[in-house]
Every structure is written in structure tokens, then in C-alpha cells.
């Protein structure tokens, strides 16, 4: 990991609930290099969506509190920026978002074209280009005609790039008239239109069928390569992680457990949790085993490593403090006092 383009350090986010304070992110470290696709993997409730939302700056204001940490993005701390600055220059411009559910993300009463052009009005890469700004239009808050035309051309081009047939016809349709796969393609197109440096994709293929998922993953990977965009890909599906990501970070109950390159992650899982997670995947060679016990409540969560109650290797120190992040291989970090040393995995056993 030579350059860190997005670098999250010691991030702590808590939510106020009726039962008490839930610390949803507990000193999380996480990073992405330029143009890298990083998978953020974990079971439901592990804090992956909260981390994604914190980076975007869209946590619910009245219940969430960021008590510690920095989010370095391209040399600046996002947490120090005002919300106006974030929404004007960062969110939707250099960091964009692909939602999980393409079905509810469009407004059903406007055509797709109207909604995409509304996005372009505020987030187009030409927005601050002096060529398209006219002072009267700015005062009257009008979308300059010349910029509209240029933006419209860009939209059509982008829709062709995400392989939507007949882009003009699609723009005239209402969201219910296109299929789920096409809606997700539109979401990808919209995420790419402002020419971002980072896309946060929150489980973008969970709602899709496998064949459509395969098409979308293929498209996403190819576009990220062509445009050199970094992607933060949150998912609970280890299969899609293997398909698309360069690096993986595993989270459990608000703590990051292991971060590694995809190859190292699947072949040499070192954290006991990662190991158990990989063993619970359906497979042919041996029986599967779940992880006994339940995820601890995040309200008054146990101190130390939050996995220790379910861990086979846990000792006294695990319940007192968390291990520091240790490098156990090239670009392979693990936070555990008792990393599992080179277990034999499914793939090794097969080959």
C-alpha cells in the first residue's frame, strides 16, 4: 500500500438509541488506493453502510455522532469540512454513490431523463467551466442552455457506455418502464457522469438475479479500469468480492478485522472470524459450519475484540483490548492477538 487516496483512521461513530449509546464504528481504519476496487465485507449490522455514509457525510444529524477519527481524502480531512462545502464540491462530484436498491432510488413521477438532467444541472463536470457560466443566469438560477446541450450529449454517451440500448428512448421513459438490470445500469451511469474519483457502491448487485449480477459486475469492473475510478464496494457476498475487488477489508460488529489483497484474503485468511466466515460458505468438499452464537449488541458492546465471545482462540487479553494492526504478509493486515497461521483453504485443497 504505497499511496492512500482515501484513508480512514480511528473513526468512531455512535448512535443514540432509546436503550443507550451504540458505538457502531469502533476505531475503524480503512484505506483505498487510487483506481482501486476495495470490498468492504461483513454481515448485516457490522457497520459497513455506516462507514460508507460517514465518508459521504450523510449520517442522520440528530442521532449520529462522530467522536473521533479522520477521513483523509485526496489530502484533505472530510470531517473538517462544512456540510455546504461537502454538498457543493465533494458529494456527487468527486465521490458518488450507487445504491443497493435501484427500484426505490428513482422518483416514480418524473421521467428518467428529467431526473438525470436534474443531476447534471448541479453536479455536471462543466458546472464551473467559465465557458458555460453567464452572470444573469447565475442570478436567476437558470440552467444555461449551452451547458444543457453539452451535458445532454455527455449523458447519451454515458448511457451508451453502460450498454443501454436506445439511450434517447430510455431517457423519455418513466422508471417503472425499465427493468431492474437497466435501472442499475442507469444508476451506474449517473454515478459516473460527474466524473468522480471515488464511487461508493452499497451492495449494488444484491437485488439482482445472478445472470444480471454477472453482467453488472463485468460492466462495473471494466468502467472502473477505463476511467481509473476507485470503488468502495460494500457487500455481504464473498463471491462477488472475489469477482470484482482488488483488496478486501472485513468488518465485524463495528470493528475492522482483516485487510488484505483478494488473493491473500481467500487463500490465507488469518483472523479467526475471517476463517469461520469462509468456512460457512456452501461448498462441495466438506460440510459447512456456521459460527455459533450471535453478534453482540452494539449497545454496551464488550470491550476488546468484539468477536472474542464466539472465537475459538480467545484468551484473557482479547476481552481487555484490541490487538494493534499487524502486517503478516505483503499488504495483509490483521487485528488479532492470535492470527491463524496458514490454514488450508478450499482452493488450496482443490489445487
Amino acid at each position: 500500500m504505497t499511496t492512500k487516496f482515501l484513508d480512514v483512521r480511528d473513526l468512531e461513530v455512535s448512535f443514540a438509541t432509546d436503550q443507550g449509546i451504540a458505538r457502531v464504528l469502533d476505531k475503524v481504519n480503512f484505506s483505498i488506493g487510487p483506481g482501486e476496487i476495495v470490498g468492504l465485507v461483513g454481515e448485516s449490522g457490522c457497520g459497513k453502510t455506516t462507514l460508507a455514509r460517514t465518508i459521504l457525510g450523510v449520517l442522520p444529524e440528530n442521532s449520529a455522532r462522530i467522536s473521533n477519527g479522520v477521513i483523509n481524502f485526496d489530502g484533505e480531512d472530510l470531517l473538517q469540512k462544512s456540510s455546504e462545502e461537502l454538498s457543493a464540491n465533494i458529494r456527487g462530484r468527486v465521490i458518488t454513490f450507487i445504491p443497493q436498491d435501484p427500484f426505490t432510488s428513482f422518483n416514480p413521477v418524473f421521467t428518467i431523463g428529467t431526473q438525470i438532467m436534474e443531476l447534471m444541472r448541479w453536479k455536471s463536470p462543466r458546472r464551473d467551466d467559465p465557458q458555460y457560466v453567464n452572470s444573469l443566469g447565475k442570478i436567476l438560477n437558470i440552467y444555461p442552455r449551452a451547458r444543457y446541450k453539452a451535458d445532454y450529449q455527455q449523458v447519451l454517451e454515458q448511457l451508451r457506455e453502460v450498454q443501454l440500448p436506445e439511450p434517447e428512448a430510455v431517457l423519455a421513459k418513466y422508471p417503472h418502464e425499465v427493468s431492474g438490470g437497466q435501472r442499475q445500469r442507469l444508476m451506474i451511469a449517473m454515478a459516473l457522469l460527474p466524473d468522480p474519483k471515488l464511487i461508493i457502491a452499497d451492495e449494488p448487485t444484491t437485488a439482482l438475479d445472478v445472470t444480471i449480477q454477472a453482467q453488472i459486475l463485468k460492466l462495473l469492473r471494466q468502467l472502473a479500469r477505463d476511467r481509473n475510478v476507485a470503488i468502495l464496494f460494500t457487500t455481504h457476498d464473498l463471491g462477488t468480492t472475489y469477482e470484482i475487488c482488488d483488496r478486501v477489508t472485513v468488518m465485524y460488529a463495528g470493528q475492522e478485522m482483516e485487510a488484505a489483497l483478494v488473493d491473500g484474503f481467500f487463500n490465507r485468511p488469518s483472523h479467526p472470524y475471517t476463517k469461520r466466515l469462509l468456512e460457512s460458505l456452501p461448498n462441495q468438499e466438506h460440510g459447512i459450519e456456521g459460527i455459533p452464537g450471535d453478534i453482540p449488541s452494539l449497545i454496551n458492546a464488550p470491550p476488546g475484540c468484539r468477536f472474542h465471545q464466539r472465537c475459538d482462540y480467545a484468551t484473557g487479553e482479547c476481552s481487555v483490548s484490541r490487538a494493534a494492526s499487524t502486517e503478516i504478509g505483503t499488504d495483509h493486515m490483521v487485528r488479532c492477538y492470535h492470527p491463524v497461521s496458514r490454514p488450508k483453504t478450499q482452493t488450496e485443497a482443490a489445487s
Binding site: 427493468s179 456452501p282 482452493t347
Partner: protein, 334 residues
Amino acid sequence: MSAQELDDTIEAATDRPILEIQGLKKYFAIRNVWKRRIGWLKAVDGVSISVQRGEIIGVVGESGCGKSTLGKALMGIHQPTGGKIVFEGNDITHLKPNQSRELRSQLQYSYQDPGASLDPRWKIRRSLHEPLIIHADLVHEERDQRVHDILKAVGLPEGHLDLYPHEISGGQQRRVGLARILTLQPSLIILDEPTSGLDVSVQATIINLFLDLHRTFKLTYLFISHDLSVVRMICNRIAVMYLGKIVEIGDTKNIFKNPRHPYTQSLLAAVPEIGGRKITDDFWLEGEPPNPGNLPSGCRFRTRCEKAQPQCAEIDPPLRRDWPGQEVACPLAE
């Protein structure tokens, strides 16, 4: 349970299939604003499967392929438009509600999230007693005994009987839902997407539970799922559906090793396989399934098939039995 043990269970069973589906059809009318019928949506269109006692048969396909409609038609939730369903030697295609009550204890349907079908205002005890009160002629003590046995079988502590559904976790709710189905000692259970939406670690325990129960109670499962890796792990045979028709049916091993229908091939190729080749490199299937209300002529898959020939538009190919333990609805399959 290993494949060998499974085979033994099946062999021990009788030869007569427990469930025989013959040319089952379920059409839904498409109506315009004036309620006049303007077409048919052929959700299930001539499906034939015979299920042997003790086997786990998987029905796979993408959303909209009719797999859930098939399960519901078997249960009588949807009245079939045509075809025949024979269960334990009796024709159950058009039963009246009072006739079907007796059947219900033998043939059970488990919804996608059996936990969600628990009454939130009832304690688990009451939910588990209810099916026995309706279907079985037992005194209270006998019912209590049965409930305790089942609870133990699905791996829940007895203390849970006095809890409400919201007090237990999602995985445990699913166990209660299953226990509720099992109290009546059914012989065939239709499981509709039983593992979707679960985290892998919970999914693993639920799958193990299914396999344990299958062995303990000598059950037969019709396992409806879109998750091919789960199906591959637990089913003896699978039927692949596409737009209301079975395109390929056969032993799980054969189909996964040697898929012959182009749709099966692409469906299997779309499943990410950790440590295997990456689908992002060589996935070929394009487009999405056509509108089931307006099907293409001939073979339904031809609009997306890379092998499609002009004759594919003319005849709707029947299942070919040219291979042992595998039937394929494609004249070009080899």
C-alpha cells in the same frame, strides 16, 4: 450428511413417487382497464416433475421464472389452470378447502421467511400448539410432549416457549417457523427460498438444520431457490426453470459437471466461484428475460441464446431424454 447417506435414504424408500406433477399449468389473466382479458401470463406452462420419497429436489431459476408459482400451485394456494398433481397416489389437483385440510398435514409449505409468519402477539408456545389443535386429535399433555420434541429437534432451548417472536433473533425465528411446520409430521415440505437474505454464517447453520431434519424425520424437500451454490450442496436432483418451463432436469452432479442447455450453462457460469475463473472475464449472456406476458415463439430462450438457429423460433422444444439422469429441452444440446 454425505451424498452416500442420502442415496441410502432414498433407496430405502418405496419406488412410487411421493409427488407426481404432470403438465402443470398456471396462467394468470392479463386484463385491461375495463377488466377485459387481453392475454395470458403463463407463469407455469406445462411442468412435469416426479419427486421420489426421501429426495431433495431443487427448483432453480431467476425471478419471474415461475418457481414460486409452481410451489403455490402444488399447495392449492393457486388453482392450477391445467395438468395434474398426484400426491401419495391421490389426485389433489382440484380439492375443495375442506378436503384439502387433511392433506395439509402431509404437505407443508415454508415461506421465504417462516419467522415473519409468526403472530407477534402470541408466545412461541401458542404458535407451536396451534397447528396441532387444528389438525391433530391430541390431549393437551400429548401436544405438549410433541412440541417439546420438535423444539429440541430444531435446536432451541425450552425456555424459548415463553418468549414472543420479537424477543428472539431472526435465525431462531426461522427455526420456530420450521418447528411449526414439523409438528404435523409432514412427508413433503416445499421450501420457498429458505436461505435468501441470510448472512452466510446463519445460512450455514440453517442448511445444516435442514439436512439434520431431513435425516431425522425422513422428509422429502422441494427446494425452491435462486442460490445455486446452496442447491448444489444439498439437492440430489435439480430442475432449471426459465419463463415457466423446465429447460433442464437431472441429477445435481450431472448438471453441474455437464450442463447441456445453453441457459443452464450461462446460469452456472454466472455464479461467482471463489478460487475459480472470474465471470467478469468471460460471461457471455446478454439482455434480460423477455416479458412473460408476451413470450417469443418457439423456444423461450432463443432471444438471448448464442446458439439460436432459425428453427428455434418454430417449435417449442420438448425435454429430450438422450442422456442418463438428465433431460434437456434443446434440440441443439450435445
